[in-house]
Each structure stands twice: as C-alpha cells, then as structure tokens.
C-alpha cells in the first residue's frame, strides 16, 4: 500500500512539476490580463440553464436582481479576500500548497474527487449542447424530473458530441484553442441578442413603457412551475456566491492568482461575474420565458436568435467542456501512472459522455453546483486556517511536509467529518456550506491544538 502510494504521488508530482516552483516576479501578469481571463471564463453553456432555472423556480424580479447583485459581490470579495491573498503570498498552486499541509495521500484523494466533479460538469455541458442539435432532428429533450435517458436518439446525440469534444480535447490543436478564445465575446453577444429579440415576443413595446410589467408578470413572476421549489432572495444570493465556491473559497484559483501582482487583482473577477453570472443569467431567463418556460436550451436559443443561437449553445458547450475535460484528465492521470495524455483524456471523455446521457445532471444542475462546491469547500477552509490562523495561535504549520506524512489523517478526518455534519444540518442545500466552512476551520484548529498539547 505504502509503495503504491509512493508510486502514485511520484507520478502526480511529475505531472505538476511545471508549477512546482513559486512564480517568479518576471512572470507576473497585468490586471488587464486577469479582467480578460475572467470575462471569457464565465460565459459557459451552463449559463443557458442556470438563468432559465431561476425563472422555473418562480423567483421574483426584485429578488433576482438584488440576489445576483449581492451574491456576485460576495463571490468577488471571496476571491479578493480569501483566495488571492494566499496565492500572492505563496505563489503556489493549491496542489503544491495542499501537499505541504495534508500530504500526498490526501492530495491524491482531493485530485480524484476533483476529477469526478469535472467529468460531471463537462457531462452537463455536453447535455446542454445536445439539446441544440436534438432540436434539428426533432429528438425530445428529457423532462425536468428525468433521471435516465428518454430515447435512443438522445443517447446517440450525446455520444456524437461526447466523441467530438473528447477528440478535440485529445488533439488539442493550437488553432482550435485560438478559435475557442474568440468564442466568448460572441457567445455573450448572442445571449444579449437573444434576450433583446425575445423581449418583442413577450410583448414589450419599443418605447419600453411596459417593460417592468412584462418582466414581473411574464418572466420573473414569482410563480414556480409544477414540481420546482419556490426560490427567493436568499436562494439567489447564495447560489451566485457559491456557484464558483471551489474556485474562490475552495482556493482552486490560486493557480491563476499566483501570477497576480497584488491580491487586489481578485476584484477583476467582477469582469466575469457581472456580465456572465448576472447579465447572461438574466438573458437566459428572458429567453426561457419566451418559449413558455420549457427547459430546452437549444429551443430557447433557436427561438430567440435563430441559427446563431443554436451555434452559441453548441460552442458554449464545447469551449467550456474542452478545458474541463483537460483538467479532469490531468487530475485522473495521477492514478494511472505512465498512461499517455491521450489515453487518460479518452478515459475522462468516455466517463463524461456516459454521464452526459443521464439528464439528471443537467436537469439538477443547480443542486449539483451546490454539491460540487460543498464537497471541496472543507479543503479550502483547512488551507485558509493553516495559512492565517495557525501563525496567530502559534501552531506549527506544514506538519505533513516536515514529518513526511503521506496522509495527514487530521485533514482527511476534518474534511469527511465536515461533510457528514453538513449533510445532517437542517438547512437548505444552498446554505450548508457557510456553517460548514466555520466548522471545518474550528475543527482543524482544535484538532491541531489538541495534538500539540498531547505531544
């Protein structure tokens, strides 16, 4: 067992070797680069689904606007005050920093959990793209409560998309990645164009005199569709906040912010949050209302923006599934030493494609996003505690690294224990992570303090 773990961790270290050293000052990037990066990263295929689901969940216009405004602000502040300062001080990725804190064994488990999460997320993106092409072939999109694929046609389309996306991720042509980089501004333009076009269909007059009444009675009218939970201000605020929980509070974006000149570069995430996670969600809400609240991203985009809309759904799916598959492959490669990159990406792509056949992942996307953040959140809390709280309390940092532990059982215990407590907490799924973060931080501090007294 110990020998296998050593082998795995050695293979894992080789994979991440290129970013083992702290970023040097000559590699630091300007604020404009961060603004552009975040603006492009947060207009994804899932935006077509998330904004539409808010309408189906019967949120009112006021709750939506205020919830998105403050929820996204909290997300930006989380990047700025939690993630960026640690990244700028250490200049390391989460992988290497966690390895110092928790040991290679726990880091391996974290990597595998992350890979599975990435596969499911990429699967949801493939499903969203499949709804666009399904429309052309008149293939029925799964129902809102569907768990299993409804037809062979749906499975066939998902497999074609999955194979195409996986092949492109394996080939990784430079030109394709350049093509992907120019998609984001256009996808965002199609979101806006579709929403403006849909306003006419909803009966908004050119002088905008009835805009408010149409939006509050036909779009965000406060009435949930049958079978969907009613959402209010707090649901929206928390969703906008935790939508990228693994990246900010979970500290995954240390990989990006280690290149920042200052921790205040975290504020540049606003360039991703407000256009992507506010305007694009509002646009998709308007589009779903214009098709009678049918959760079918392909139909929504086609009715609102024609063939360009179909293209936007497909390209939004591809441009976001592609890097997600790459990251999943990179994370999975840690458990398959000596496998070439193409083979592991093929494995990740196959798993992703199979998962994409099950519409539950895209129809329950909001809950999945909540779970994704929740599962990885305790690791962020542990790293935050070790980085900031331990020096204040005089507790020893990086014990796993100093003592050569493969597994820091305390970290693993706090991670799993926090998840167990969160599961039992009598709170809505969206709210569980916040007390969970404090529980993880307090438990890890208490455990380390107790260990010091014992020793």
């Amino acid at each position: 067992m110990a020998e296998r773990l050593t082998k795995f961790s050695a293979a894992m270290d080789r994979l991440y070797e290129f970013d083992r050293e702290a970023v040097t000052p000559d590699k630091l990037q300007s604020g404009g680069k961060f603004a552009g990066l975040f603006a492009g990263e947060h207009v994804a295929a899932t935006e077509f689904v998330i904004g539409a689901f808010f309408v189906l969940h019967g949120v009112s216009a006021r709750d939506l606007l205020l919830g998105l405004l403050f929820g996204n602000l909290l997300a930006v502040l989380s990047w700025t005050f939690i993630c960026a300062p640690i990244a700028v001080r250490t200049r390391l990725t989460l992988y290497w920093y966690l390895r110092k804190i928790a040991g290679p064994g726990v880091t391996l488990i974290y990597n595998i959990a992350n890979a599975l999460m990435y596969c499911i997320l990429a699967g949801a993106m493939i499903s969203v793209s499949a709804t666009a092409v399904g429309l052309l072939f008149k293939i029925k999109v799964p129902e809102l409560d569907a768990v299993f694929p409804a037809s062979a046609g749906w499975v066939a389309i998902v497999f074609v998309f999955g194979a195409a996306f996986t092949a492109m991720a394996i080939l990784g042509f430079e030109k394709l990645s350049r093509f992907a980089s120019v998609c984001s501004p256009w996808i965002f333009a199609v979101f806006v164009a579709g929403a403006v076009g849909a306003l006419s269909k909803l009966g908004v007059t050119p002088d905008l005199a009835n805009l408010g009444s149409v939006l509050t009675t036909k779009v965000w009218n406060g009435v949930a569709v049958a079978g969907q939970e009613k959402f209010g201000f707090w649901h929206i605020l928390f969703f906008a906040w935790f939508c990228n929980l693994a990246m900010h509070v979970g500290l995954s974006d240390m990989a990006l912010f280690r290149y920042a000149r200052k921790w205040t570069y975290g504020l540049y995430t606003a360039f991703g949050m407000y256009p992507g996670h506010m305007l694009a969600w509002i646009c998709s809400g308007i589009m779903v209302a214009a098709v009678g609240r049918q959760m079918n991203p392909g139909l929504m985009a086609f009715e609102a923006a024609g063939a360009a809309g179909i293209g936007a759904v497909v390209l939004a799916g591809w441009t976001t599934a592609n890097p997600t598959l790459y990251r999943a492959g990179l994370a999975l490669q840690t458990v398959t030493p000596n496998w070439p990159r193409w083979k592991i990406t093929l494995l990740a792509g196959t798993a992703t494609t199979v998962l994409a056949c099950f519409p539950v992942f895209f129809m329950k996307l909001l809950d999945y996003v909540a779970l994704y953040g929740l599962i990885l959140m305790p690791i962020g809390a542990i790293v935050f505690t070790e980085h900031w709280i331990f020096p204040l309390l005089g507790l020893e940092q990086f014990r796993a690294e100093k003592r050569g532990w493969a597994f820091h059982w305390g970290v693993l215990g706090v991670w799993l224990g926090t998840l167990a407590v969160c599961f039992l907490l009598p709170l809505h799924l969206y709210y569980k992570w916040l007390p969970g973060w404090f529980i993880a931080a307090a438990a890890y501090t208490a455990l380390t303090a107790a260990a010091r007294r014992t020793s």
Binding site: F179, V182, W186, A189, V196, G197, S200, G306, A308
Partner: protein
C-alpha cells in the same frame, strides 16, 4: 492589416447586437434579424481568428 482585422471584428460584433435592437424597434423583421445575426456571427469568426493569431504572435 492587424488594425483592419480588429476594426472589422468589432464591427461584426456590434452588428450582432444592432440586429436585435432594430428588430425590437420594429425596424427589421424577425427573419432578417436572425439572418443578419447569423451573417455577422460568421463574419466575427472569419475576422477574429486571424486577429487573435496576430495577437498571439505579438505576445
């Protein structure tokens, strides 16, 4: 060439946004709005990919 590509790319994106506004203002039919949007979208990709190549070479 690079500047021309940049201007033309941005104009095509502006056209993507202008078409729905004209449709909303009843100055364009729905069919024409969707056609203009599609053509402007194609123009964006034909122009912005070489523009991005120039930028990549520069960096």
């Amino acid at each position: 060439m690079k500047i021309a590509l940049a201007i033309a790319s941005i104009l095509s994106l502006v056209l993507c946004l202008a078409a729905p506004i004209l449709f909303f203002l009843d100055a364009m039919s729905e069919a024409n709005f969707k056609l203009v949007l599609l053509l402007a979208s194609l123009a964006w990709f034909f122009l912005s990919v070489p523009w991005a190549s120039y930028r990549a070479k520069k960096s």
